[in-house]
C-alpha cells in the first residue's frame, strides 16, 4: 500500500513516534472523505474476509450475524440519514461485508470518557459522549511490529444471582481452563460476556501500555454490490473505557426523543440486563424503536408489538422473530443477567487473527519478540493470504516468523493494494423504470375513460335505428375507412379504475367526425402506466441452508401473467416488490418483479379485456344495416386504406398500432382475458419448505457441517475432520498414524 498523503497527511507525531492525521470529521469537512462515497483505501493494511466477532441468538447453533445499520429512522437523525444503507444487496448472507482493516488513533481523553463514541444522533448533549468522527485520526506512521495487543475475557459468574461476580481472564486461561464457557445464554452459571483488548507499543522488553493514546484496529463495511465503503467502525460498535477496548456484546436501540442510538448494557452490571426492558417499558410508545441484531439484518420493531406469543413458540425462540434481550423477560427460567450473544474463545481468537495485528493471549507474553524473532507460543498474528485476506486463522510462536507482517517496518509496508477495482462496470444500487413523455394514446385517435353507465348510453346512441345517426356516422367515416365500425378501434375493460392513470378533459365521444353527444373523459395525456402491486420482505425460516434452493422452492403468482418460479437463493432477505407496466393500447401488461431495487423478472400478460365491438350479438340488425350501407363503397375505400398504410410520414405507424392492437386483442381471446378477472388479484408466493426431523442427539452423534479450520483443541464435542495430515505426530508408528487418521476422519470427541 502506498499511503495517499494528499488525503492522509501527517499532522502530528506523539511521544511514541506514532504519526497521525486529521480527525475524521475534519477530513469530512475538508472534503477529503465524503459520506456514502468510497473512501480512499490507501491506508488499509489487510482485509478480513469474514466477520468472526459476535452473533445473536440463544443457542450455539444460531447464525452469527454482524450488526448492520439498516432501517434507520429518518427523523432528525441526519447522521443516520447520511449513512443510510438500507438498500444494500447483501445476497442474503448476513455478513457479506468485507472488513478493510486500518489503524486509527485517538488521544483525546479530555472528556474523561475516551472514545465514548456510541451515539449516532446529531443532537447529543450528554456529557462525555463523543462521535467517532470527532475523536479518530488515521494513523500515518507506526512501527507495525512494535504494536501488540493483549486480549482479556470478561466472565460473569452468575452462580449467586443476587451477587453476580465479574472476572477478567486472559484468553489463554479461558481456553485452557474454561473450555465450555462459550456455551452460554441458557445453561451454566458462568458466561463469557465480553472481551477487551489493550494496546502496547515499543520494542520487545520495553513495550509500554498506551495509556495516553490509543490505537484502534478499525474497519469499514464494504458492499461490493454498491461499490460503497460505508463507514469506519471499530472492531465492533462499542466503546473504550480506561483505555480498554470492548468487543460488542449488545443490541442497541434508537430513542427518537433523544435522537440517539443506545447500547443497552446487558452485561455491565448485575442489573443492567433489565435496563433494556426497563427503559423500553418506561417509554412504551411508538417513539421507541428497538434495533436488534437478528438475521438477516437488524430490524426495527415496535415495542408494543412484543409479546410472548410473538417470540416464544412452544417454549423456544421463534426463529422467524427477532431475538434480543427482551426475550429474557418472557422466558421464566432465564435470568435477566444472562447475555444474549454467542461468543467463544474461538471466535475471539479468530477475530484477533482477522485484524492481522500482533496479539498475545496472556499478558505475561507482552514483552516477547515479534516479527522475525518471534518464538513465544503465546504471541499470535493473523495469516494474510496471497490476495491480502485474513480468514481468522493465525500463526503462533516461531511459526509467526513466516507471517508476511514480520517484514513490515511500518504498517504501510503492507504490499497489498486494496483500491477498489474499477472493472465492475457501472455499479448501481437500483434500476428504474422508464417514463416516456410521448404516448401512443390519443394521437391519431381518441380515447375515453368511460363507465358502464356511459358505455350503455353510447351503445344506445350507436345502435339507435334512427337513420340520421347512421348517415352522420357514415358521412364522417368515408374519409377513413370502409366500415363504420372501424371508427371504434377498441373497447377494453381493465380490472382497475383508470382515472388515476390519465389526465383527461370532459368531451363528447366522437366517432370519426361524428359527435355522439355522449359525454366522457377524453384522454389528454398519460400520467403513468405503472401499477404498484405491493411488496413483501422475504424472510428466512430456518436461517440456514434449508432456506435456499434446492431445499426451499417458491413460485410467484402474478395476476394476468401466470406464475413464475423464483429461486429462494435470490430473494431471501430481500424485499420483493411487483410492479405492472400497462400497455393501454394493446391491453397487455408486463409484470416486473423487483428484488430490492433491482428488477429481476419480467413476465408479460393480458390485463385489458377486449370487448369485441364487431360482434353482432346484441345489435345484429343494426350492424348488418351499417355494413350493408357501406357495401357500395367498399372497393374504393379498400384501395385508399391500403394506400394509407403504405404512406410514410402520415401516421402510418400509429395507424398500424391501432389496427394491430385490435387484432391482438381478438387473438388473445375473450375467455382468457375475462377468466383472469376471476382469478386472485394479488400477487402471492407459494413457498415450499423442507421439514426437518432432527433428533436431539443429532449434533452429539453426527455433528453439524462446519467446514472450518483450526486446532483440534479449540473445538469440542463430536468432530469429524477432513483429509487429516498426521505427519506431525512424533513417535507414532505407521499403523497408529493410519488409525489416528481413520478416527479423526470418521468421528471422535475433540
Amino acid at each position: 500500500m502506498t499511503l495517499n498523503e494528499e488525503v492522509y497527511n501527517t499532522v502530528g507525531t506523539d511521544a511514541s513516534g506514532i504519526g497521525y492525521g486529521s480527525y475524521l470529521q475534519t477530513m469530512l469537512t475538508d472534503g477529503k472523505l465524503k459520506y456514502n462515497t468510497p473512501w480512499d483505501v490507501s491506508n488499509i493494511y489487510v482485509r478480513n474476509k469474514g466477520c468472526f466477532l459476535l452473533g445473536s441468538g440463544f443457542e450455539n447453533n444460531r447464525p452469527i450475524s454482524i450488526l448492520k445499520f439498516t432501517n434507520f429512522e429518518d427523523g432528525n437523525n441526519t447522521r443516520a440519514k447520511t449513512l443510510d444503507i438500507t438498500s444494500i444487496d447483501d445476497s442474503a448472507i448476513p455478513y457479506v461485508s468485507i472488513r478493510l482493516m486500518r489503524l486509527a488513533y485517538n488521544a483525546d481523553f479530555s472528556s474523561g470518557l475516551p472514545a465514548q463514541g456510541v451515539t449516532w444522533g446529531n443532537n447529543v448533549s450528554t456529557t462525555g459522549y463523543r462521535e467517532y468522527w470527532d475523536i479518530w485520526r488515521p494513523v500515518t506512521n507506526i512501527n507495525f511490529n512494535n504494536l501488540v495487543y493483549t486480549v482479556y475475557c470478561q466472565v460473569l459468574d452468575n452462580t449467586d444471582t443476587d451477587n453476580p461476580v465479574y472476572y477478567t481472564y486472559s484468553l489463554d486461561y479461558v481456553k485452557n481452563n474454561l473450555p465450555n464457557l462459550y456455551r452460554f445464554g441458557f445453561d451454566g452459571n458462568q458466561y463469557l460476556v465480553n472481551f477487551s483488548i489493550r494496546a502496547f507499543y515499543g520494542n520487545a522488553g520495553e513495550r509500554e501500555r498506551l495509556t495516553s493514546s490509543y490505537i484502534f484496529p478499525v474497519c469499514e463495511l464494504y458492499f461490493p454490490s454498491q461499490n460503497m465503503l460505508v463507514y469506519w467502525k471499530p472492531l465492533s460498535q462499542s466503546y473504550t473505557q480506561n483505555d480498554q477496548y470492548f468487543g460488542e456484546t449488545r443490541s442497541f436501540y434508537y430513542n427518537t426523543s433523544q435522537q440517539r442510538f443506545y447500547y443497552p448494557s446487558i452485561t455491565q452490571n448485575p442489573y443492567s440486563g433489565r435496563l433494556f426492558r426497563y427503559t423500553m417499558h418506561s417509554n412504551a410508545n411508538n417513539a421507541n424503536q428497538a434495533f436488534i441484531s437478528t438475521y438477516p439484518y437488524p430490524q426495527s420493531i415496535d415495542w408494543n408489538s412484543l409479546s410472548e406469543q410473538n417470540y416464544i413458540v412452544n417454549g423456544l425462540p421463534n426463529n422467524n422473530k427477532p431475538n434480543f434481550g427482551i426475550f429474557m423477560d418472557y422466558y421464566p427460567t432465564l435470568n435477566t443477567n444472562r447475555p444474549i450473544y454467542y461468543m467463544s474463545g474461538i471466535l475471539i481468537e479468530q477475530t484477533m487473527n482477522g485484524l492481522g495485528v500482533w496479539w498475545v493471549d496472556t499478558e505475561d507474553s507482552i514483552q516477547s519478540e515479534t516479527g522475525k524473532n518471534c518464538t513465544d507460543p503465546h504471541m499470535h498474528i493473523g495469516i494474510i493470504d496471497e490476495e491480502g485476506f485474513t480468514n481468522g486463522s493465525g500463526f503462533s510462536g516461531s511459526e509467526a516468523q513466516n507471517a508476511i507482517q514480520s517484514n513490515w517496518e511500518n504498517y504501510t509496508d503492507s504490499p497489498f493494494d486494496y483500491t477498489i477495482p474499477d472493472n465492475f462496470g457501472n455499479l448501481v444500487s437500483d434500476i428504474s423504470l422508464n417514463s416516456p413523455n410521448i404516448s401512443p394514446l390519443n394521437t391519431f385517435n381518441s380515447n375515453y375513460l368511460i363507465s358502464a353507465n356511459t358505455l350503455n348510453q353510447f351503445a344506445s346512441w350507436l345502435w339507435n335505428p334512427d337513420g340520421t345517426v347512421f348517415d352522420d356516422i357514415v358521412n364522417g367515416l368515408k374519409l377513413f375507412g370502409q366500415n363504420p365500425i372501424e371508427a371504434l378501434t377498441s373497447l377494453k375493460l381493465f380490472p382497475f379504475d383508470l382515472t388515476p392513470f390519465f389526465s383527461t378533459t370532459s368531451s363528447n365521444i366522437t366517432m370519426g367526425r361524428t359527435n355522439s353527444g355522449i359525454n366522457a373523459d377524453l384522454v389528454t395525456g398519460t400520467k403513468t402506466a405503472v401499477i404498484d402491486m405491493g411488496s413483501v420482505l422475504f424472510n428466512a425460516k430456518y436461517n440456514n441452508f434449508l432456506d435456499y434452493s434446492p431445499y426451499t422452492k417458491c413460485m410467484l403468482y402474478l395476476p394476468y401473467c401466470g406464475t413464475v418460479d423464483i429461486s429462494p437463493t435470490d430473494v431471501v432477505g430481500k424485499t420483493v416488490s411487483v410492479k405492472y407496466i400497462i400497455d393501454f393500447v394493446t391491453g397487455g401488461c408486463t409484470a416486473v418483479v423487483y428484488f430490492d431495487n433491482i428488477p429481476y423478472v419480467y413476465k408479460t400478460g393480458i390485463i385489458g379485456f377486449n370487448i369485441p365491438v364487431t360482434s353482432t350479438d346484441s345489435a345484429a340488425l343494426t350492424s348488418s344495416v351499417i355494413s350493408g350501407t357501406l357495401n357500395a363503397v367498399n372497393s374504393g375505400v379498400n384501395v385508399f386504406s391500403g394506400n394509407l398504410r403504405e404512406i410514410p410520414n402520415f401516421g402510418g405507424s400509429l395507424y398500424q398500432l391501432s389496427t394491430s392492437a385490435k387484432q391482438t386483442f381478438q387473438q388473445s381471446g375473450a375467455s382468457t382475458g375475462y377468466s383472469s378477472q376471476y382469478q386472485p388479484q394479488n400477487a402471492y408466493f407459494i413457498v415450499s419448505r423442507p421439514s426437518t426431523n432432527i433428533p436431539k442427539t443429532f449434533p452429539h452423534t453426527f455433528g453439524y457441517s462446519a467446514n472450518t479450520s483450526g486446532r483440534i483443541r479449540d473445538f469440542s464435542g463430536f468432530t469429524i475432520c477432513k483429509n487429516v495430515d498426521t505427519s506431525g505426530i512424533p513417535d507414532a508408528t505407521a499403523e497408529e498414524r493410519e488409525e489416528i487418521k481413520r478416527i479423526l476422519e470418521s468421528g471422535f470427541y475433540a
Partner: protein, 157 residues
C-alpha cells in the same frame, strides 16, 4: 518384561480424545513376550478392584491402552489383553493439529448444505401475499371508469 503400569477406569467413549480417568492403582506388571507394542498383554497381581480396570497407561511405551475384562489365572494373576488408544496416547499432539473440521457438534456453518440433516418426506407450504389496493373490479360500480374506448378520428363534422 517387568515394568510400571497405571490402571484406570473410565466411562468415556473410546472416541474421546481426552478421557476422564480414575486411577485405581499404579503397580508393577509383566508384559508377556513377544509383545506387540500396540497390543500388549499385561499381567498383574490380582487385587479386588481389578475388575473395574478398563484403561491402562504403560510409561515404558508412552501409550494408553484400552483393556478388555481381565482374565484371572491361578496364582492371583490378572491378565489384560490391551489395544492402544491412539487418541489418548497422542492427545496433545492431536489437539495441536491444524485440521479442516468437516463436522462439529457445536460449531456450525449453517449455510453449507448438510446432507445428513434428516428431512421429512413432506414439505410445508406458506403463502405470502403481496397486497395492493389497485385491483378493485370486484367492488366496482357502474359509474367507475374501468373502460377505455378508442375511436378513430376525434374531429366533429
Amino acid at each position: 518384561m517387568q515394568t510400571q503400569v497405571s490402571l484406570y477406569t473410565t466411562s468415556d467413549d473410546k472416541l474421546c480424545r481426552i478421557k476422564n480417568l480414575t486411577l485405581i492403582q499404579e503397580t508393577q506388571c509383566i508384559i508377556t513376550m513377544p509383545c506387540n507394542i500396540l497390543g500388549p498383554i499385561v499381567k498383574i497381581k490380582y487385587f479386588p478392584e481389578v475388575s473395574s480396570v478398563n484403561y491402562i497407561y504403560i510409561p515404558e511405551f508412552k501409550r494408553f491402552y484400552f483393556s478388555k475384562a481381565p482374565t484371572l489365572q491361578a496364582g492371583s494373576t490378572a491378565i489384560f489383553d490391551c489395544s492402544v488408544d491412539v487418541l489418548g496416547s497422542y492427545a496433545n499432539y492431536i489437539g495441536a493439529m491444524d485440521v479442516t473440521i468437516d463436522r462439529n457438534e457445536y460449531f456450525q456453518n449453517k449455510y453449507i448444505a448438510d446432507s445428513l440433516i434428516p428431512l421429512n418426506t413432506y414439505n410445508t407450504y406458506e403463502v405470502i401475499r403481496l397486497d395492493n389496493t389497485i385491483m378493485t373490479l370486484n367492488t366496482a360500480t357502474a359509474d367507475g371508469k374501468y373502460y377505455l374506448l378508442s375511436t378513430m378520428g376525434g374531429r366533429t363534422v
